[in-house]
Symmetry: C2
Subunit: 386 residues, 2 copies
């Protein structure tokens, strides 16, 4: 229970130039966190309900990216995830370009759920769609609606999941007119049970493999949307005229989130079960500290930074520490694997079109991430998720 | 993928008195249906994805209230459901009464998912929360937020499910300021597999047992909210001063939806597996026609109508056919069971505090519902869900 996205306000101060932090972009975690903690405690207290059914929760999954229940022959994993505010960028780009960007938005929404679900070692099986529009007329734009359907289906096929169904409520008075609130729920199985990757096997000597992101994915959009207010050409601003002529800020932001389940499924087929996984979303590379163990994560190789993230870092005036602590900076997913498997993990990912790097090692030591090429470190206090 | 709720508009025509249909309350199914059909076809085409995992969908669950996959030792059922617009009534009543109504709203949201999931014979195991607020400040009202948490937990305990986690995004720019979009996903198992109740055992001679609703539940709120615009005292209007002195329209609307999973679980413990179930939500008693088979459902006993539904029927100037075709009119859930089990089903439900009636029989004949005490019938053309 973590994500918060900000208002797309017309705050004049934001239109100024200069440094812009994630907090200044309007995300107020302080107001959400007490509820989150209260909800987490209440949720944890309900685990005992499963015993009446002869089942039990896997308590190590509390605080992880998906909830896991031991149902005997395998583990059941489930999740619901929200897209966040990326659809607002799609809406503005539709206005500017005259075409729908919702196929990619569909993939983003599914990725939010799938990429979290697989961190526990689950094979995603069923996705349900939650498409809450501001009014029936949202669905009256047939091109956009069909684009959403087509993108949703395509992402399901990529991930090998069945699209079970879902809800398409029109929620005038709750969802803003002309907008849509998108979310996905996903159910999967950890099967066989030794695929469970909640981190009990994570330890010193493991390798850290990073999988490439396609761009900003669906986290950091509040900051990205705030920055656009400073740009005279807005979302049509070219972000890298020399290396990527014609690539607009809006189009780059809307690159669909990479779906990582084909990689984790292929790894298992090759006999590789990651010791732990981290989906790098909000909090950027601080997510490498996700596991509760006291371990040091030493990074020796940093992936290339996608142009849109380099552009955001520059425009927001962020130093490397702030950028890597907020955005994925080119690494969308981290696999912690046995050192002997690392090269094969990279090879398998690349064979599926997902670039990958053996980026570092897990060591005994205090809980910290050391990004050596950039001389950055994040310590225990830099990530409080539970 | 079915529900639509209308705008809470200030349409002056709606403030007039006289007949008000559900369509006039602002629900425009025509705009949603083409997308729904397109999405249903795309979703159905993804079923083949499960074969790569050694599993298969239970295709009879397409078009039913929850999606079912055969995973070997048992069936996996999953769903995501939206509350709809009932939270708008809670917000207005909070303004009028100075207290939070969100514990009940939490139960309503969970009921939307649980009561659908159990129709296929599943035991609900895990609920995930989807609470998308219009801004971080929604969670700043600690009483309301804690009420939501407490009600959510209590409903999970009633249903014997674990609250796995969820999402609490703040979606300014998508969700309206001061509002919250509530949904729940639920995952369960049909275990043992003979509990599956997709209707293959439904046939002539079965009894129809109706379980009492607590009121409007969370369907028909668009109509209910439209009607309030006609009332000088609004939600504080007393709806039945003689029989229920002091009962306001708002408080009556906000009676939390009955949770039916304790009944279906108790039935199985007594060795009773319903042949089919229908959650009576939108479309009212037309939902008794949900199963695709050509059968006649003859109703000889009609439950008492909750005061709030009698009031709505009167205020909207609806005849019985329209009211029973739109609202639950006192019957929140229908169980189609072997005739010999019917009395015991009623007894078990009543022992759990849910009133119940042996209300009718299933007969060979054209697809229709005959509500004999009211001289109403609904035919094949009155419900098109697939």
């Amino acid at each position: 229970m973590t994500r918060a996205t900000s208002a797309h306000s017309a705050d004049p101060a934001a239109a100024a130039t200069g440094h812009l932090s994630y907090e200044q972009a309007g995300v107020v975690y302080d107001l959400i966190d007490p509820v989150k903690i209260c909800a987490q405690r209440a949720a944890a207290s309900t685990a005992v309900q499963l015993t009446a059914h002869g089942f039990a929760e896997v308590s190590a999954s509390r605080g992880e990216s998906a909830y896991v229940v031991d149902v005997g022959p395998f583990y059941l994993a489930s999740i619901v995830e929200c897209l966040g505010s990326k659809a607002l960028v799609a809406d503005e780009m539709a206005r500017l370009t005259g075409r729908s960007w919702y196929a990619g938005i569909a993939q983003d929404t599914i990725a939010m759920a799938i990429n979290d679900l697989i961190t526990v070692g689950a094979t995603p099986l069923v996705v349900q769609a939650y498409w809450a529009a501001g009014g029936s007329d949202w669905f009256g734009d047939a091109d956009r609606a069909q684009d959403l359907v087509a993108g949703w289906k395509a992402a399901c096929v990529t991930c090998g999941v069945a699209w079970g169904g879902g809800e398409t409520p029109a929620l005038a008075g709750i969802v803003e007119d002309g907008r849509i609130d998108l979310a996905a729920s996903c159910t999967g199985l950890v099967n066989p049970k030794q695929r469970l990757s909640l981190g009990d096997k994570l330890g010193a000597g493991d390798a850290i493999v990073l999988l490439a992101s396609s761009g900003i994915h669906a986290n950091g959009l509040s900051l990205a949307r705030k920055l656009v207010e400073r740009m005279p050409e807005g979302y049509l601003t070219e972000i890298a005229p020399e290396t990527h002529p014609g690539l607009s800020y809006g189009a780059a932001l809307l690159a669909p989130t990479t779906l990582y389940s084909p990689v984790t499924e292929a790894l298992w087929k090759a006999g590789i079960a990651p010791h732990y996984c981290a989906n790098i979303t909000g909090h950027g590379w601080r997510k490498l500290l996700r596991h509760p163990a006291a371990l040091t994560y030493r990074i020796h190789t940093v992936p290339p930074v996608p142009p849109v993230l380099a552009f955001i870092q520059h425009e927001a005036g962020q130093d490397n520490r702030e950028a890597y602590g907020t955005l994925n900076m080119g690494a969308g997913f981290a696999l912690f694997v046995a050192a002997d498997d690392a090269d094969q993990v990279v090879e398998i990912a690349r064979s599926l079109g997902v670039d990958a790097w053996v980026a570092g090692t897990v060591e005994a030591g205090p809980k910290q991430v050391l990004i050596e090429p950039l001389d950055i470190s994040f310590g225990h206090d830099d990530l409080q998720l539970r």
